[in-house]
Symmetry: C2
Subunit: 240 residues, 2 copies
Amino acid sequence: MISIRPVEGLPEIGEGDDLAALIAEGAELADGDVLVVAQKVVSKAEGRVVLLDEIEPSDRARELAGARDPRHLEVILRESARILRVRPPLVIAETRHGFVCASAGVDASNTPEPGSVVLLPEDPDASAGRIRERLLELTGAEVGVIVSDSFGRAWRQGTTDVAIGLAGIRPLLDLKGVRDRTGYELHATVIAVADELAGAAELVLGKTDGVPAAVIRGVDARGEGSARDLVMPAERDLFR
Amino acid sequence: MISIRPVEGLPEIGEGDDLAALIAEGAELADGDVLVVAQKVVSKAEGRVVLLDEIEPSDRARELAGARDPRHLEVILRESARILRVRPPLVIAETRHGFVCASAGVDASNTPEPGSVVLLPEDPDASAGRIRERLLELTGAEVGVIVSDSFGRAWRQGTTDVAIGLAGIRPLLDLKGVRDRTGYELHATVIAVADELAGAAELVLGKTDGVPAAVIRGVDARGEGSARDLVMPAERDLFR
């Protein structure tokens, strides 16, 4: 059986907060658990917040803005390695990490104050690694950590949460060479376990009620890797 | 808390089997539970199996086949409304239901016998509805039912399970108009809850060990809708 428990009772998170310590207070952790933490609080603890009043929009940002604040678009452009599609107010971008998502992950909701936007962590794997180390120190438990964000998908409505950073987790389960019950070899079956874990955790996270983390127990996803392993390499990508 | 329990002890499923009755024997169900059933067993119970020996490949199927069996490609073409991308052996197609996935959902693994392929259910919402009705009759429990399949994604490695059919489930959670803690209105937040439920269930399903269903408890996803609500309407789709 798998259980998914929300981590409740966390205060509003600000720059410099010891997020892992706050989570350790609100959760019971055991070896092998997977802690999923919403990107938003990780970014806030890391001070990845930009005040729009300090941003001067470029011509390109003004052009893309449509009804949106051109300063917000300017921040999106600065966070993007490449813009894939634009249909105002929607901008689909590839972030410098390689993730393809709306607005390069720059978000104006649930920000510390009006007129600010929150960026993705600079190195989300490192963020996950620091939380993992700190939890080990505080609780003695060896947990896997996933930093999650809500991404839209091509061809499908709605967002699902996916892993943008991880530590102590095997992101993909590769069944190549495994045979089914009739002896047929499963050639192309690689399961994005870390994304399924992130999506499962979202079911208890909620967007507005201040539950920024969840603990999943009963899935053995222990291993090594990076959330960048979940990015389709450009040469295999049919949809860039 | 959410729990996810595998439904174990099911035999190999064949055409005409009363899948709901077999699940009712192997699971404890309560009102509001979500039952996720792998498409493969639903299709097998419905006889959606094609023997390749009975298929004559077209020229187009031979052309697309690469190293694959051209008869398999012929079945894929017959199940497709449109082919989006081809890079042998990979074919990304839109099924007649509107789903975009590899091989139009036609699968040669875990088939009843070598030399056969399994198709998606003709109407996966109706399949889910029949299972839901039969479980109500057998157990008295009003459960939501999701028929799931493993889909690849644009830009990301690996598959995650998504909902291709559903009954008694609200597929999307629309937070438009809801305000966050700072009063900012969440404009564009629609969560694909049914896909997150399908992905969460996959964590206990496994591809090879004969666990074709799971019961999720603790998520209130009751409602009405269709898995087609999860398909991005063509006019809003930036990636067709």
